[in-house]
């Protein structure tokens, strides 16, 4: 199962994609950007574990943050919280699944029960 319904911003004039929020299109300058939902295969590009957090996230450590790429739209990458469970260790190249957004931004979890990509 690939990731579904990831909200991103699309320029209505030139079709460039961005991570929300973007107030103007960096390619054509248009302010007509809309949120669209995209699907695709999402993979870990890089990752880290934060142990000394900003004060507001003190009760959440340690937590994993990863840069996640969406294979279908080159150049689009998400800085995200990633949930790992059990023995499944986070690694570059592993597939993740989009689980939603909240006040922390994008959330993904490591794909379970499947061979590593």
């Amino acid at each position: 199962m690939a990731s579904k319904n990831i909200p991103v911003m699309r320029c209505q004039k030139c079709n460039s994609y961005y991570v929300p929020v973007k107030y103007s299109c960096n390619s054509c300058g248009s302010r007509e950007l809309e949120i669209v939902k995209v699907d695709g295969t999402t993979l870990i590009y890089s990752h880290t574990t934060i142990r000394i957090p900003p004060e507001v996230y003190r009760d959440q450590v340690p937590y994993d943050i990863a840069l996640v790429i969406l294979q279908e739209i080159p150049g689009l990458m998400f800085t995200s919280r990633v949930m790992c469970s059990g023995e499944n260790k986070i690694e570059i190249g592993k597939e993740v699944v989009f689980t939603g957004t909240d006040e922390l931004g994008y959330r993904f979890e490591l794909k379970r029960g499947m061979p590593d990509v």
Binding site: V19, V21, Y45, S46, H47, T48, T49, I50, R51, I52, P53, P54, E55, Y57, Q60, Y63, I65, A66, L67, G75, M77, F78, T79, S80, R81, I92, E103, L104, G105, Y106
Partner: protein, 386 residues
């Protein structure tokens, strides 16, 4: 374009400057630079001060006029603070350079200052994190150390090196810092110490990260044709560049290269006519061990993917192919954020004057690289002794 020359330098030690205020340490560094130049303070035509977070950390803003009045500078001159996170000091130097080079001023005082150790760790963490893009990336809980950890993880994946190679930067810089009286840490560490250190932000450990510090540094810049009147050891600024990178990790086209550095270096090399191979000594922005690795490649000293192996093989030690951070760098000196860029300029001037405590033999051409934010802004200066 007129030539610009450094005729005076001053710096406090970097570290815990107990009982000394931001105003006091900035005043001391500026006075040292003015006295070193042998000018009268009334000769100064403008003042640029680099600072990052004095408002949050010590509740003091409007600090360029504050320091100018502490020094008793003329009332008809522009006194301006500039901010670009960890690059604030480098930006202040470049603005001084531009004013003289453009013919608007003859003598400019530039400085950088930060007072950090009197504030709590929580306050420091929050203040430093204010340099992130909060609307986009800070909210995820990513930190500056986290940003460089992402870079390190990807770098190892792409180039097949290990933390052994990346962390050899810490061993080299800590060894260099032993001789530097301005460094916060003056004790050597072994590679084993670093690799067994406390895990801070995987894969970076304690010694991979520079410490916070208090500190101030200052330089007197002068039109080149006047420099001989004041000093026997003028240091000419041959090139100065400033580049814009991205404000978030996810927008970087390539996580193992920092675009702001590449652009600042391109400008400085072009202006000076100097090539990486001509440079004798470098002070670059090693806020983390991995930062030095990426920087030394982006500045053109090594091919992409070679930087960590080069440090491991001793090519960046004094006596190696290109000595990098003989001062001990940020990893030894500490990182008083707004002061760092001016402090790096100070260290290279000492090298080119032949007066450094950890001298690179016969150094004639030096390069200074300062980096701010998560790769958002960078300055590069190329200096030469006459």
């Amino acid at each position: 374009m007129r030539g610009v020359t450094i005729i005076g330098i001053g710096s406090t030690p970097f570290g815990v400057l107990e009982g000394k205020s931001l105003k006091e340490i900035a005043t001391i560094a500026c006075l040292d630079a003015i006295n070193d130049a042998g000018i009268d303070k009334n000769d100064i035509d403008a003042f640029y001060l680099g600072n990052y977070i004095s408002g949050i950390l010590v509740n003091q803003e409007t600090i360029a006029p504050l320091i100018a009045n502490s020094l008793g500078l003329r009332k008809d001159i522009a006194c301006t603070k500039v901010e670009g996170a960890c690059c604030s000091g480098g930006i202040a130097c470049r603005h001084g350079f531009l004013l003289i080079s453009g013919g608007f001023c003859d003598i400019v005082l530039v400085a950088g200052v930060e007072k950090m150790t009197s504030a709590s760790t929580e306050k420091n963490t929050a203040a430093i994190a204010s340099g992130m893009d909060w609307e986009q990336e800070g909210k995820t809980g990513l930190t500056f150390p986290g940003f460089f950890a992402l870079v390190a993880q990807r770098y190892m994946y792409e180039y097949g090196c290990k933390m052994d190679h990346i962390s050899s930067v810490c061993v080299k810089n800590r060894s260099n810092g032993v001789k530097n009286p301005r460094a916060r840490f003056r004790k050597e560490v072994t590679l084993e110490d670093v690799l067994k250190g406390k895990q801070i932000v995987d894969p970076l450990r304690l010694h991979d990260c520079c410490p916070v510090s208090d500190g101030a540094a200052a330089l007197v810049l002068c039109r080149s044709d006047w420099a001989d009147k004041f000093t026997k050891k003028p240091i000419d600024i041959l090139g100065a560049g400033q580049g814009l990178g991205t404000s978030t990790a996810y927008e970087m086209p390539n996580l193992v290269s920092i675009g702001a550095t590449v652009e600042a270096a391109r400008q400085a090399y072009k202006m000076s006519g100097i090539k990486p191979g001509d440079v004798d000594v470098v002070e670059l922005h090693d806020c983390f061990s991995i930062a030095e690795v990426v920087d030394c490649e982006d500045l053109g000293f090594f091919e992409k993917g070679r930087g960590a192996f080069a440090a491991f093989d001793g090519e960046t030690r004094i006596g190696g192919k290109i000595p990098i951070n003989p001062s001990g760098g940020l990893l030894s000196k500490g990182h008083p954020v707004g002061a760092t860029g001016a402090g790096q300029m100070y260290e290279i001037c000492k090298q080119l004057r032949g007066e450094h405590e950890n001298q690179v033999k016969d150094a004639e051409i030096g390069l200074v690289h300062n980096l701010g934010g998560s790769g958002a802004v960078s300055t590069v200066h190329i200096l030469r002794r006459r």
